[in-house]
């Protein structure tokens, strides 16, 4: 398409390897970014995408192999050096000083000066120009802590633009954006492309990749498995290249309970201004998937349900109306919630496994004094039941791998002996082997008569596991799908608001 084969790549890595300690995570990969080209890098979590991006932007050095800037070998001693040479990485977690204004952030570290003093006027004008170019309404004087996530993304991009980025590397820029915000971002990407910027970006949204990328590189397990022009690959082929096997094998066969009674019934449930009049039912032994774009209000709905957020509406459990205003109310009603934010809300990273395991159900281990022998026993049981792999029992939870943390979080939640389990993004940031274990586990839970609500942004997961699927868009339930309706096309149409509201 727009690649110019005779000109050297704007930024290129050749046969790059990288090890962390004894573990090699990149096994000699090549990747070339050309001016005026949008290059998508896709792959599963842990495939090495972040590592290669960090190497290209000077945050990491390769263990071997070379980095070429405009055809000449370079070594970036730091990310600062890379930025000075026009290579800029926008992190998934933003690098913004929350208490400073937008303008101060854009010029942080390279403030414009007049003599000894800051040239406020020039900085403000330049910041306003950049933001205007990006079509955002955010004011240069706004404090970053007060602006929305998507505006923060725009500030990051403005910051990159102000540094005259010739190579822009973006780590999952659309993960936090709404569809409309993503459209603005895509227009900006087009514009930067037209100006000759080389762009590398990663995304898990394959439809988006197919739309805006010119070339696609697929990573799997630290190696490059495919590089192709966009038109040459279907989304299915991309997914298969990423996973390296048929997706369907990942999921256990569905066992849909027949004529099960309704255990949870939610009617006209609203959470602040985020969720409006959501209604759905959950049956015993059912896995009810919740699909929708990030920001559709799925997490907020569940957080309202368990009493972490203020909510209004009717909730019935086993036919009896319940009122839940704290997590312990929810627990008493037999409802538990596994957060998507394992590290921020799920586990105490600086505590041992034992203290984490029993925190939710601590009253099962004695009201007055804690029965630590009982706790140890419970931990032993959890380790074998959930196949938690830890070097020893005293290890701090922060030192466990994501998969083992997730298993511990599952064990912690199940210790509360719930009837209804809400799992938010069950496999985020987890390798494929553990994913399969967790899928089997969810399936077994349902088969044993527990009722499961599963929020997931991974389409394959929703389709592969759910007995029925609730689709949400902008805080409303837009459809409830079952049987053959559970397919990518229909889910996406509902999530995008293309289908009319289906009666629940």
């Amino acid at each position: 398409m727009s690649a110019l084969p005779d000109k050297p790549a704007a930024l290129e890595v050749k046969d790059v390897r990288r090890s962390f300690g004894p573990v090699e995570v990149l096994h000699g990969v090549d990747l070339a970014l050309h001016s005026g080209e949008v290059h998508a890098l896709i792959g599963e979590n842990g495939a090495g995408k972040s590592t290669i991006m960090k190497i290209m932007a000077g945050y990491l050095t390769p263990t071997s192999g070379e980095v070429l800037l405009n055809g000449k070998p370079v070594t970036f001693a730091s990310s600062e050096e890379a930025e000075n040479k026009g290579v800029i990485l926008i992190h998934q977690e933003f690098n913004l000083a929350e208490q400073l204004t937008v303008e101060e952030n854009i010029f942080l570290g390279r403030e414009l000066k007049r003599g000894f003093f800051l040239d406020k006027k020039a900085m403000r004008a330049e910041a306003a120009r950049l933001l205007n170019e990006l079509e955002t309404r955010v004011s240069p004087d706004a404090r970053v802590s007060d602006i929305s996530v998507s505006d923060k993304q725009m500030v990051e991009i403005a910051k990159a633009l102000s540094r005259n980025a010739r190579v822009l590397i973006m780590d999952e820029p659309t993960a936090v954006l709404t569809t409309r915000e993503a459209e603005v971002l895509f227009r900006q990407i087009e514009r930067l492309k037209a100006k000759g910027t080389a762009i590398l970006y990663t995304s898990h949204k394959l439809d988006e990749v197919a739309r805006i990328a010119d070339r696609i590189t697929v990573f799997r397990d630290g190696s490059r498995v495919v590089v192709a022009n966009t038109g040459e690959m279907t989304e299915d082929q991309m997914a298969q290249a990423m996973v390296g096997r048929e997706l369907s094998n990942l999921f256990p066969p569905k066992v849909i309970p027949a004529n099960a009674e309704t255990v949870l019934s939610v009617k006209d449930f609203s959470v602040g201004s985020i969720v409006t009049n959501a209604s759905f039912d959950l049956k015993r032994g059912e896995i009810l998937g919740f699909a929708g774009l990030v920001g559709a209000g799925r997490t907020e709905l569940m957080e309202g349900l368990i009493g972490v957020r203020q909510s209004a509406g009717q909730v019935e459990i086993n036919g009896n109306p319940v009122s839940i205003s704290t997590v312990s109310d929810a627990r008493r009603a037999g409802v538990v919630y596994l957060t998507e934010d394992r590290k921020g809300r799920g586990l105490l990273l600086r505590k041992s496994m034992r203290e984490n395991l029993t925190l939710l159900a601590l009253n099962r281990f004695g009201r007055l004094a804690i029965d630590s022998k009982g706790e140890d026993k419970a931990l032993g049981k959890a380790i074998s039941e959930f196949d938690i792999r830890a070097p020893n029992r005293a290890v701090l939870v922060g030192n466990l791998s994501g998969g083992n943390q997730q298993k511990l979080l599952l064990a912690k939640t199940m210790l509360a002996e719930p009837e209804i389990v809400i799992i938010d993004e069950p496999t985020r940031g987890i390798d494929i082997g553990t994913k399969q274990q967790i899928y089997n586990f969810i399936q077994n839970l349902a088969a044993s008569g527990k009722s499961i609500i599963m929020i997931s942004s991974e389409m394959a997961e929703v389709i592969g596991l759910s007995h029925r699927v609730v689709v949400m868009r902008s805080g409303r339930v837009t459809g409830v799908l079952s049987g053959d309706e559970i397919n990518e096309d229909l889910i996406v149409r509902h999530a995008m608001g293309l289908e009319g509201k289906v009666a629940a």
Binding site: V308, T326, V327, S328, A330, R331, Y337, T339, D341, G344, R345, G346, L347, L348, L349, R350, K351, S352, E355, L359, L360, L362, N363, G366, R367, L368, A369, I370, N392, A394, V395, L396, G398, N399, K412, A416
Partner: protein, 334 residues
């Protein structure tokens, strides 16, 4: 609890890790050895009783402070709170003498008042922090000024003195004891032992550590975050009341200079003892060791002629900073 986990994560560093855990104890033993070496009177019954009884006030408060800090809070108001409680207690006891006469009745009422006022003061701090969602530092900085100003106002800028008759009856609470152990020491020991058990063995202690580690995780794990927080401040308020009960018979008076800097001594003792200032991990026995270290430094300087006793504060300062440096090393090893 977590102490063990810290050791076993990095067994290679055996000796140094042990020092992190036992560091305060080693320092305390070294101080005792130094004191005994410098002055033969150091280990005498009189001196030991004196040091321990004087540490009891700060010690009782510091035990409560351990819970507050472990759950991620802070209370700067305890020194002024003690002065305020002492003032109110003395005024009420003096006021009751005409009607109740001089005797234990008046003193028991005074003690009750101390605990009730301590409870109320802790409740105010706790509610402002948990319900009005103001930072603990700000709230207690404010109440610190308020309590200090109230006692100055109550004493009209001077000193509130306890009725001489009552003072004679009350005196033994500080100066006498049971089987040769002074009452303040007994109360301090009881508070410390109870505190240690609560911190280690009860859901309340576990919840404090969880909240201090990560409030969000605690919230999502069905911990009543606000209730537990509030309880730590109330517990501390009650303990300040108990400390004041032991303190009033010592001098029999209260003034605007009563309890000055107690808050910083209590916080310092907690930190020296290995509790993490940011919260998430606390140990009461460490706090007790911290209190003893701080008071022994003063005592040794007074007994020996090596260094001027005026440098007491400087040496305490060095010890506090050293303790935090050791804590940080522990973090980096992880």
């Amino acid at each position: 609890m977590t102490v063990d986990s810290a050791t076993s994560t990095a067994p290679r560093q055996g000796f140094r890790i042990d020092f992190h855990i036992w560091g305060p104890v080693v320092a305390l033993l070294a101080l005792i050895a130094l004191g005994a070496f410098l002055n033969s009177n150091f280990l005498s019954y009189g001196n030991v009783t004196n040091v321990l009884a004087r540490s009891a006030f700060i010690g009782i408060i510091a035990v409560g402070m351990t819970f507050v800090i472990t759950s991620g809070g802070l209370d700067l108001s305890v020194g002024s709170m003690a002065a305020f409680i002492a003032g109110v207690m003395i005024m009420i006891m003096n006021g009751l003498v005409p009607s109740m006469g001089v005797g234990w009745g008046v003193i028991l009422v005074g003690m009750l008042v101390a605990i009730v006022v301590g409870f109320a003061a802790g409740l105010v701090n706790g509610l402002l922090i948990t319900q009005a969602r103001i930072e603990a530092f700000i709230v207690t900085l404010g109440t610190m000024g308020i309590f200090r100003s109230l006692i100055t106002w109550l004493a009209n800028g001077g000193t509130l003195s306890l009725d001489y008759g009552v003072r004679e009856v009350y005196r033994p609470v500080y100066y006498d004891g049971l089987l040769g152990v002074a009452w303040p020491i007994i109360v301090f020991a009881a508070v410390a032992i109870l505190g240690e058990i609560i911190m280690r063995k009860t859901p309340f202690g576990r919840h404090c550590a969880a909240i201090g580690s990560n409030e969000q995780v605690a919230l999502y794990s069905a911990v009543h975050v606000n209730r537990v927080r509030l309880m730590t401040y109330i517990l501390l308020g009650i303990l300040v009341g108990i400390a004041t009960i032991m303190y009033v018979p010592r001098l029999g008076s209260a003034s605007s200079s009563t309890g000055v800097l107690w808050e910083l001594e209590a916080i310092a003792a907690v930190i020296i003892g290995g509790t993490v200032l940011k919260g998430g991990f606390g140990r009461v026995w460490g706090t007790v060791v911290g209190v003893l270290i701080l008071s022994l430094i003063g005592n040794i300087l007074n007994l020996a002629n090596l260094v001027s006793p005026y440098l007491n504060g400087a040496i305490q300062g060095v010890i506090i900073i050293l303790a935090v440096v050791l804590q940080r090393q522990k973090k980096m090893e992880r």
